[in-house]
Amino acid sequence: MTDLKQRSLEEVKGLSVEEAVEIMRQAGIVGAGGGGFPTYFKYMKPLPHLLVNATESEPGYWGDKLVHKEHLEEFLQLFEAMKTIFDFEQITLAVHEKDRKWYADYQEHADGVFDVRYVPDTYALGEEKTLVKHATETKVPRFVDNPDGTRRPGMPPDVGKIVNNTETLLNVYNALFLGKPLTTKFFTVYGEEVDTKVYEVPIGASVSEVLGIAGLDVENSGHLTVLDGGPYLHDMAIAQLGTGDAYVRRMTNSLFVIAEGRQGKEYAEIETECPEEGIVSLVGEISGVNVPLGGGLLTPATPLVSEGDEVEYEQMIGEPVDQGFSVGVWASLGGEISSLENGIVAISGGAIAQEEAEAEAEPTMAGGAQPRGEGEPFQEAGSSRGNG
């Protein structure tokens, strides 16, 4: 009973813990907040309290706020279902004080299934241990002892909390209710020379192509640097726009365009306007994708396709393995498998010439590095950002 298929609220509520966890695993859901931790693993052992982290903290971000605004009904149904499946004593939506008005609809519906808690407007609340401290009466211990005598940093499950971010939970809704696997990422595009936008983008899309759609003259923008992240926490995506490329990752929360030679934190005071048009989907607008079968914390999935195969959008292309953390991988674009190398499945959608698609997939980063993708996790994208 773990097929990805449409389910009614009652059918979802009828799922066992094991079935719901397996659906999350097959659907390929990992923490969208930045950590990339496999979501299914957080739910294997039921805990009393689910905290939904809606405190996106990087200056200028709008993604999570728009996801909540546009998907109220989905979250209400999901909270009801999750409470039944996992027997949560409490589900809490944690929101910055400054966003009270924005989340007023949720406050109105907070009738016992979940509650809304307001936390201080500091940056740090995006970090899950700090969030637990402010949204509950509990503190995650700094360090805990392992059975083998070693010590590790404390985590929310040590005090009975599961922390998931907004987008991760929307992906759980999509899997449990709609039977939709994870194939897209929501993120904010902002900074120098671009209007602020929030896009839903196929995973593995070219960063250059997305920025071209956002209105940048990519070929003549060597004076710009693109960060995957915000002013404070980020990884380098493209040092000089127009030279080399990067891929949209499962934990990309922003493409932040800054002047080449400056540092992200110099933009910490940046303020952006919420894009009037809301979230814009680029599904079907992208010419090619490079989808990683693993990377970061994930053991690569077993590929189900070969070079030259035709695949449809949302077709399974990688099956999770039993070793370590592993999740299902799905085509974020319909088209032809143009290559399968180094754990990356390249799919060409045919919207641009094949040569150009291949050129984009070439390792042309300055210094000869591979284009950045999950196959080669960024240095800063570690567990410390695990608020997903």
């Binding site: 500091t122 940056y123 740090a124 995006g126 970090e127 700090t130 503190k139 010590r151 404070y232 926490l233």
Partner: protein
């Protein structure tokens, strides 16, 4: 409420925290590293990196280590650059 580096850093001065800090607010105070509370954004990324567990959230510093919080608050950060001095 900034993070505070305490006694265990003395004699250790492992630089993992300096590398982890996204805002470069960790300075070399001689015997130990020190976090400038005016610059710390409370992100907590330094804390799990410390191999000797010297770093505490500001409101969780044990009483016997409070002098390190006081020192960080009163320290003169002018004239020194954050990070590790390269000789």
């Amino acid at each position: 409420m900034a993070y505070v580096i305490t006694e265990a850093c003395i004699g250790t001065k492992n630089t993992a925290c300096v590398t982890a800090c996204p805002v470069d607010c960790i300075y070399d105070a001689g015997d130990h590293f020190i976090i400038n509370p005016a610059e710390c954004i409370d992100c907590s990324m330094c804390m799990p990196e410390c191999p000797v567990e010297a770093i505490y959230p500001g409101d969780e510093v044990p009483e016997y280590l409070q002098e390190y919080a006081t020192k960080a608050a009163e320290f003169d950060y002018s004239g020194i650059a954050p990070g590790v001095e390269i000789n």
